[in-house]
Symmetry: D3
Subunit: 329 residues, 6 copies
């Protein structure tokens, strides 16, 4: 009986371990047999699991974000591993588990990343801009520490929003060293605020898993919500109206194309750059994930998030020593 | 009688000076009066000039890239200055002029920028890639020193292609410090080669002014031409076929959208980044020019190159000390 | 010497009368002759006028919104009448003119139309919605009385915005009699507020002529501005947040397509209807104007505002007695 | 044993009742077990039913539009009710059933709605137009009484076409009271005829259920077919050619966009209005159905017919007394 | 004094000759001088001509399709020849001119081409199809002999429609020799009828010059008109309804794309081929004209009719003996 | 026990025969039963087959391109025949089978078609063009004899590429008889070379079945690959650069639209024609296949390859004697 992590499972393994339920569906076969279909995660990966002859009437209901203890066996079918459940129970207080140990998270601690953001706010020299940004960030600190950047797209992990922002800030600093006429205050502030209203657009659990969009998120969207947040905050802190307006414009235009949600295209260079930093970071994240399991000299499957492209993992290597991304901070 | 530069002309000035002819047209009014319509440049700007009652039959022809000496007066009409020509003659050897002193140029010397490119080639660690790039750059050094990056779009100045490449290399280096898994060899090589075939797509004078596209440029375009150049060079220097193939793919995909000339979208992260560095540099260049003469708190006219957007010159200033772009190198 | 109105001018007439300057340009011919090119209006129409050998240096400047007295003659060229100016002067206080008598206006008095809006506000039964709407309308009464609905498109006349709103309210009432499950409170409120921020998007003179967009209008647009106005007002009057949110959603979605400025499509039936009432009223206005001078059985020229369509004026008549539009109120 | 209507079924019910078969498929499970999969309707709703171990060789075939008597039990799986069939037989003459009692129908009787159309024809004052319309309507009365407006889209119920037309006529009358210069004769005639050829485009049973498109419907479509019908009828009744032509143009342009089947856009105001009345009625119908089962303050699923939008059911209510739609006539 | 043809004019020539007026405009310069601006044609080409100080009040009006006698001189400006008119008069009966000698015409005589069409009709074996086609062709013989295929596009010359049809028939015969399963009867009939209603869509003079579209042409278009013509004719001659329907479908679908006027795409192979033969013939015609005056190894200007492409005239020649197109018949 | 061909199978047949495996998948039912799902072909058609209770662990693996002997029974379910496998084994050398007898092939022998191509090369009069083409064709003869024209689209059969080329050559010859100014050398060469790099874009087995795209095929595509092949070959054989360039341009532009892979549109008439011959041949092939099993007077299902159109099989027949396609050569 093993307590391996998901990443290490092999066909034939007998497993006894805790998992977090990421999705649960009660299904029936075409011959009317009912079963429970689970997606289980631990921090190393995810696996599909099935419990046969399950009945919702006689047995407990398993739902998203629950911790469960499972005994079962791993088999392979069509190149994919599957967990056949023999026994399942919900975790209890006696198990003394920290649910946070089971969810996919950003590679840095939220506190470190939040500190990074504060560092960049400290670099903003225009007092009005600094006030708007620091007020908003502080007011939403709790959610910022946990929220992913999306429900399903890029950076959809716990603290993914912070991870997205901090990487973009790093890039923003670099870009401003090359294009020296850029107003760094606007650029840093725009980066920090561009997706701030995602915390108002989506409902996320404390695990950083989004269950649904809010009513206001559906009816207005995070771009409009963000503009209103900036507008109100600027009035409250008595900031220069033009500073507020420019930040609102940056949020409004950062998706660039009307069909992606931006009714106005960038009209200042900082808004233009904000857009490209945003899209580059999303692409690097999605490409990194898509290529994770591809072997050198081979193609990934088509990736829906990347315009349905296949990606290629080159076997042409540089001898440059690979720096771990966590050397970033 | 003044020898002011164009940038300093004022209505009422009497002018006697040398200019470079950037465009010359022989026109007739609706009442059948013929005149010569010139666009004149010096390194500080350009101005429209008119010579009335000009006849192509009795007087010399004035054409593009000619140096001329002109005496005339400046008047203003509808907010624009105009030069009314009283006397005009072509410059002669006795005038001892260097035509290069009259054209708009990149802000750095071609030699310095060429040296920058060599520096980055020196940083490429993969020998196959380095060989391909250095061979191609050396083979086309003469044209590279002079060519603009375009006939009319961004970086359409003498040595504009070098300027575009070197700025992108600077950015490429920065980006690879944030996204550390990028293969810098491919990225630097892709940046250097992405527009290399512009020298085969366009005919430019030694002044870096493009007169027309070549026949092959029209029928194939610089993307296809660049792929063939890389392919042939790689075979000649005996480089690894995959290295060659990836560079070709980067050139092929760098316009990103089929309707902009890329039949394939980027399939490796380095190609993705190449595209965004290319477009960001073009945008920063075009936005910089569009905002040059706009006052704080005002909008530019609609800029055709920027999807017909107006740009806004913010009056929200950072106190960050402005670094001159020439601190770049 | 005649004092005819523009609508009645004929070739050969000698004219002496007052006009409002709608546009003024100082032009030069290709042979360097300067002249003044004016667009003159009175409430019956507009005409092009030319003053030859005009010099900005020795003569007064004529600009938009000025009242002028002109003596001249009417000639016809290529089917269009033109006024050749012999004498021109600006109107003085002694002329005792009311500039308002010279601009194209909506067919009803602003006060009557404003009263109509108040009547419909009175029909709103939901107190929260009524409060939001009445507060906003009252706060902006002064501008509402004068503003056109656009700079150049449909309803670009003084009080055109009121005219647009009141006609739509009439239609909204009718529609709610057929589709009885529509929430009339939302529909009336949405109609009244959908373009309310046009008064913040454009700068209009007291004549209802728009000179330019405001900075915020350019950077955000009236849809976003309107949402913020509703949001703030709702907070101030302590209205139900969902009522406020739905009105914001109606404003956000009323252009329907992202490329026309609506990042969200209507998600409630009242927003759907709002869109169609808006577009129908614009189309009826533009079609009416385009067909004004077309004879029965003939086509108009292509109308740019109507997707470059030609319109046809049918000669198939109903015997239904024609009701003047002013029976509307 | 219950004889409840479908709308009232609950899990655990034992059912014995008559139903109309709306769809029947003979399926096999992946393990090769054959079963019968039925969609059953009564006027209150529809339900999926399954008969296990069914064999087409030994048992009767069940097909669309058949009346069947079924005994079985209701169970719930994944929030949906399902009928497990124990016994099934086709209804016989002895059962004395009226199949018409089992299909979804428009909310008004066909005769009443047909009478409405006649009333509006009576309001057409232009004799030529009246003749064309009345001749066509009378000639196709039988099918008009039964046909739906579509196979699957809006108004796909028995007499749905009549329902669509009469609601639009009501709206047409209202619109002409606001936009008084509209030619009501053309508008009423256009409304009545715009979809008239749907009866030639589709084959519908006497239950108003469309089984397929006709060959001519596939090769030409109802817009072209409608134009030919008007053209021929106008010739037969000796109507004014221009009246006929305008009605043909209204039919041709009523889908507005080429990609939706209209090669010409509306060129007369009445055709413009016809288009908007058509689309508004479709939208109100589809939105009404989509929101039917949604609770206040919640969203519907994405609705494919409505550009894949979710709809929101507002909880902001007006106190206006709700008028039943049947007060329409 | 010369009587050269237009094709042979050179700068400096003094000209005295007859021309056909293809376009006439009365213009005024910006300094208020009026002149007459003519486009003159003879069968060899066209030239712009100007008559200065022309007054419509004291001199005769010159209009389209008039024959005029002109004396004047040829000058060159900006690479284009221009005719300065010294004397002009309208041709009189005494001049004994045949206007037909002055218009651009198809390269074969209308009678020969009409005979070709009759030959192909004779090859149609299906009696119903043959009857429909021969009836329609005979009924419209007079116009067919003269009409161009378009107002401005391809084959816009006298008898251009016949020329277009006969070339396509030739191609249709060839294609059916390769794709032997094609129904030649449908293909030949579809070719002959696809544009037949152009004679009802446009008003052309007996010179084959189109002055305008008919009202029905504007409101319905030749595709719809053609369908109605086939429908009516088929009924009159008692033809098989499916034969008629398929021909209508071919006409309906021959523009292929909705945005080019075809609401249905081809559903039979013969309709598919019809489309490609139509477009190939148009392209060969337009490309031929665009390349007419281009020298080997050079590009044409951008051709609006060809998606704004430039065309290249290759200098790579085959030694194949050039066959004159008139060997076609 | 029968040895019928697939085309002749009927429900109830007991079958014992050899087949080629075109696709093999190991599947599991929702109740965890594993089975083998095969697509079997012989030259007359294909059929789905299932082997129940199959285990990859105890039984041999069956894969694409394997020959197998099967005993089983035919049943019908939902209008489709299915083969239930009782016994299966791989064919052995003793079975003495020629795998080539089992694959779908072009209707002519590869040698005959290759000979056709050589015949047309012989008709090319320009020596440079002839050299380029003959060199390339000879160099790739082996693959040309076998390759299909696509993985799944038109001409996806063994030797399909040759079949596609030879039919187009036939058409090219015909077209050049009508449009006599076309350069036949370019046209024939362009036809032969337009898809030549498909042999480098795809990996095909000796059966002409494509398993996948090559790395270079994915990263560059056959259009770019073809251009490079022509470029290199032209240099090797010392051909005229313009001849080489024009052939490259024809390959580059033959997909016509950027979104289909052609960054440049045709700029010479021969390239324009090449495109249309290519698309017509693809359409005739796909339409022929789609209509194969449709009865007269009925529609096919929607065909994805043909813009999701249904096709109609007309019952209007010509009495023209049907010529078998094999009379082509």
């Amino acid at each position: 009986m093993e307590t391996k992590k998901i990443r290490d499972f092999q066909s034939g393994d007998l497993i006894q371990s805790f998992f977090l339920v990421k999705a649960a569906e009660y299904k029936t076969t075409s011959t009317n047999k009912s079963y429970l279909d689970l997606t289980l995660v631990d921090p190393t990966g995810e696996i599909n699991a099935k419990l046969w002859d399950y009945s919702t009437e006689t047995e407990p209901k398993y739902t998203i974000n629950m911790l469960v203890r499972i005994r079962g066996s791993i088999s392979e079918w069509q190149n994919r591993l599957q967990l056949k459940i023999d026994k399942i129970r919900t975790a209890t207080q006696e198990d003394a588990l920290d649910i946070g140990d089971f969810v996919p998270v950003a590679p840095y601690s939220p506190e470190v990343m939040y500190g990074e953001i504060e560092k960049y706010i400290g670099m903003i020299e225009n007092a009005d801009i600094a006030k708007i940004v620091s007020t908003l960030v502080a007011a939403h600190k709790e959610k910022l520490l946990l929220y992913p950047a999306a429900k399903q797209n890029h950076h959809a992990v716990r603290s993914g929003l912070l991870y997205h922002i901090t990487t973009m800030l790093k890039m923003g600093e670099k870009v401003s060293e090359v294009y020296v006429s850029l107003n760094r205050d606007l650029l840093f502030a725009g980066i920090i605020l561009h997706d701030i209203a995602k915390i108002a657009e989506m409902n996320a659990s404390e695990l950083g898993i989004v269950s649904e969009y809010t009513v206001e998120g559906e009816l207005l969207g995070h771009i409009i919500q963000g503009i209103k947040m900036i507008d109100q905050t600027a009035v409250e802190v008595g900031a220069d109206p033009e500073a507020s307006l420019l930040l609102q414009h940056m949020v409004l235009s950062h998706h660039y194309e009307p069909e992606f949600g931006s009714p106005k295209r960038p009209m200042i260079p900082e808004a233009e750059i904000l857009h490209y930093l945003d899209i580059m970071d999303a692409r690097m994240y999605d490409m990194g994930r898509a290529l994770e399991k591809v072997e050198d000299g081979h193609f990934s499957d088509k990736v829906w998030l990347l315009n349905n492209r296949k990606l290629y993992k080159s076997s042409v290597k540089s001898s440059r020593e690979y720096k771990e991304p966590d050397t970033l901070f």
